[in-house]
């Protein structure tokens, strides 16, 4: 079910929201939590219940059981079993195809096996690995089964994050106030949701018209012109930002309507002055996960500069691979890993460069790295890169004037204007007049954005890019 589908907006959300608060008003918080959890499972399994429901339920039961045992007695083997179980599930559904394909390509006779990827599996698997590690460390204490079910399945984050920490969610589910309708939270949640939907439907889907055709031509094995290649890469950089940050804003908004605060997932990543800074602003909950549950356990920076470099590169390569079973994602992670190594080395020299230059260089690396992320194959990514740097004799694919307008407008929004976290009061804001308030202006603005975005999405709903990860 998509957040911007008519059924979700006009049937599912109003009914679930009303039921949740009626049950809360009746002072049945446990029933309200169960209602929300069951409806979240319904949301998840909507398109293919026979395939998706057993999968997520078995994953939840497995992790809850292991987690419970870890909370009572933290045993290393139990943690290992839990992590292996989760990675086994993820590996089977996500990486078996790539593994058998690669083995077959290098001459090892194996049967090509590719299972269809269950939606959201990467997100709920990582969420639960984090829970197991927290339980082992003694940082996860709450083990109410309904709350655990809700923690994993809560529909705003289930499909594409944010990746949540057990310890930041469970206390909220335990609060009685969560189950009472709070209009200020609903108003703020609606505003976040409207902003996210607008970013997705108007900005991301709009600029996709200039990235998709360029990459489609490259994927078909043809060359594109230099200008088309730059337009395609820049447009995709904006598309994926507005698509994923839009989704995250919608998730934050939906959770807020239910009285739950989610962590931020984006903070103007294209304003980053370095790649280190970029990863503090882009998909922040994944960065946090990779740092806390991969980079630190590998040793982080505690075992000398050489190990630090290796740990960083391994983390970024695996972070890339997490996005999908393709060497393209590994290449994307590798470029960022290499960039981070250079960034750290540069910092250690203590050389400072003016922020416009550092920001521009960072942005350039990020845009170049998005090319393999978007391209279907490494060879088409290579083709786009070659075109970007002058090897080009293809046809003009997109209208350069329209593309220029879109790219310039969205660049201004992402590079200059405050972000949604700043506007909605989750972070300090430099321009006071852009701060969200409970007043007529903001109410009308939220409504206008919401209505226009819903109407546009009804014409042809486009799925979120991160749904396939």
């Amino acid at each position: 079910m998509l957040f911007h589908s008519p059924f979700f907006l006009f049937v599912f959300l109003p009914i679930v929201l009303a039921g949740f608060f009626v049950l809360g008003w009746l002072r049945w918080p446990a029933v309200a939590a169960l209602w929300l959890a069951l409806n979240s499972l319904l949301f998840y399994a909507w398109d293919d219940p026979l395939y998706l429901l057993p999968l997520i339920l078995s994953s939840i039961v497995f992790n809850y059981s292991i987690g419970l045992s870890l909370v009572m007695t933290p045993r290393r083997w139990a943690l290992a079993l839990g992590i292996i179980g989760n990675l086994g599930l993820l590996g089977t559904f996500k990486y078996l195809g790539l593994a058998t394909e690669t083995l077959s390509e290098i001459g090892i006779p194996v049967t090509l096996t590719k299972l269809s990827l269950p939606i959201g599996i990467s997100f709920y698997t990582f969420t639960q690995i984090a829970f197991l590690v927290d339980a082992y460390r003694g940082e996860a204490r709450e083990y109410n089964p309904i709350h655990y079910l809700l923690f994993v399945a809560f529909f705003p984050h289930l499909i594409a994050g944010p990746i949540l920490h057990h310890k930041e969610m469970m206390p909220q589910f335990a609060l009685r106030e969560t189950y009472r309708a709070r209009w200020p939270a609903i108003a703020l949640g609606l505003s976040w949701f409207a902003a996210g939907l607008f970013k997705k439907v108007i900005f991301a889907d709009g600029v996709a018209a200039f990235s998709d055709p360029v990459f489609a031509v490259a994927d078909a094995g043809k060359l594109v012109t230099t200008s088309a290649a730059w337009i395609g890469a820049a447009a995709y950089s904006l598309q994926i930002y507005f698509d994923f940050s839009g989704y995250s804003d919608m998730a934050i908004g939906l959770a807020l309507m239910f009285g739950i605060a989610f962590p931020l997932n984006f903070f103007s990543p294209y304003k980053a002055d370095s790649l280190i800074d970029f990863w503090r602003r882009w998909h922040m909950t994944l960065s946090r996960f990779l740092r806390d549950y991969l980079y630190f356990p590998l040793g982080g920076n505690r075992k000398g500069p050489a190990r630090r470099m290796i740990n960083l590169m391994v983390t970024m390569l695996l972070g890339g691979l997490w996005h999908g079973a393709s060497w393209n994602f590994v290449a994307w992670g590798g470029i960022h890993g290499l960039g981070l190594l250079i960034n750290h080395a540069w910092r250690s020299f203590g050389i400072t460069i003016p922020w416009p230059v550092s920001r521009l260089v960072t942005l350039l690396v990020v845009i170049l790295a998005w090319v393999p992320f978007k391209a279907a194959t490494l060879s088409s990514a290579w083709s786009i890169w070659r075109s970007m740097f002058g090897v080009s004799h293809g046809d003009s694919i997109v209208d350069a004037t329209s593309a220029g307008f879109w790219i310039a407008s969205l660049s201004f929004i992402s590079l200059v204007l405050p972000n949604t976290a700043q506007i909605f009061g989750r972070s300090p804001l430099e321009w006071r007049f852009t701060a969200w308030r409970l007043n007529g202006f903001w109410s009308a603005s939220v409504g206008l954005a919401l209505g226009a975005a819903i109407a546009m999405s009804f014409r042809a709903p486009v799925s979120f890019l991160y749904f396939r990860f």
């Binding site: 108003a187 009308a444 939220v446 409504g447 954005a449 209505g451 109407a455 009804f458 014409r459």
Partner: protein
């Protein structure tokens, strides 16, 4: 401001903004469609680039309840493409059925639409007619037009609903503020009651009309696939084969009458292919208005026998 009021005002603004987003572009597009003074019609098609086809969605998605009601209650239904619509949207047709107190409905579609789409529309209609007239031109092909695909797409309702509302609001606005509208796009209007077309500037060719020559090359025999599809379509109509009349209007390029007769014979239906001299087409295929009148008049002279042989209309 209280938060509850904020939410309410936001939802109201969303309703207004959503409606405007959906309807305003189509209103603007429909304001370019040449209007008609006829009553009881809806805008079925217009060459205004953002509007184009509406009739496929109107019937498939049942967006025109009045038209659907008439279709459901029609005793005779005519199926075919735009060629059928042009050939039967005549005074001779209405006069024939009015005289016999029979209700009829023209369910042909533009874009050279074939029988697959007509069958899809009829499958959504509970009561079928007792007699079907099938205009065979391109009717037994397998394809769906782009307009049909758009109407049958997953999220088509909102798109076609915006066309309906856009056409209605443009009609109202252009009636109130004539100066605002620039009607320069050819249009086709469709009667709610009979499905007949009123076309304004459409199908006319810049090179002028094309008369139908007396001698034309014969069309090839129908393919085995044509026969299979004809069988399938005839079976879906749920009437005895003798209650299906297959016909064909002449065109300027090729003589398809034998082809049509063979298909009718294969499905045990009646064929009725009037031979009328001196007909003129707009573009080689669509009869001009006087020719359509002449042809349909001759056609209905031959229909009486088939009607009386077919069944008892009063059963409806």
């Amino acid at each position: 401001m209280r938060a509850g009021w904020f939410v309410l005002l936001s939802l109201f603004a969303a309703l207004v903004s959503g409606t405007l987003t959906l309807v305003a572009p189509m209103t603007l597009a429909a304001s370019h469609c040449i209007p008609t003074s006829s009553k009881d019609v809806f805008l079925a098609y217009c060459t205004s680039p953002k509007f184009t086809d509406y009739e496929h969605g109107a019937y498939y998605l049942k967006l025109e309840p009045q038209a659907i009601k008439r279709l459901e209650s029609a005793q005779v239904v005519v199926l075919g493409s735009s060629v059928a619509q042009m050939s039967f949207s005549t005074d001779a047709t209405s006069a024939y059925f009015n005289e016999r107190k029979l209700s009829y409905y023209l369910l042909g579609f533009g874009y050279n639409e074939g029988g697959r789409f007509s069958a899809a529309v009829l499958s959504r209609v509970p009561d079928h007619a007792s007699l079907y007239i099938i205009h065979a031109y391109k009717f037994f092909g397998n394809g769906l037009s782009t307009a049909a695909e758009a109407a049958m797409a997953e999220n088509a309702t909102v798109h076609f609903l915006s066309k309906k509302l856009g056409a209605e609001s443009a009609k109202w606005i252009c009636g109130v503020m004539r100066g605002w509208c620039e009607p320069n796009s050819s249009s086709i209007y469709r009667s709610f009651n009979t499905g007949s077309w009123e076309w304004i500037n459409t199908y006319s060719s810049s090179s002028g009309t094309r008369p139908i020559p007396p001698q034309r090359p014969l069309g090839g025999a129908p393919s085995p696939d044509d026969f299979v599809r004809a069988e399938s379509l005839a079976a879906s109509l749920k009437v005895p084969p003798e209650c299906i009349i297959v016909t064909e209007t002449p065109n300027a390029d090729i003589d398809l009458s034998e082809n049509t007769r063979l298909i009718a014979e294969h499905i045990h239906a009646n064929s009725l292919i009037p031979q009328v001299e001196g007909l003129v087409t707009l573009d080689g295929y669509h009869l001009d208005k006087p020719s359509a009148e002449r042809w349909s008049k001759v056609f209905f002279q031959g229909l009486d026998l088939a009607v009386s042989r077919c069944h008892d209309f009063s059963a409806k």
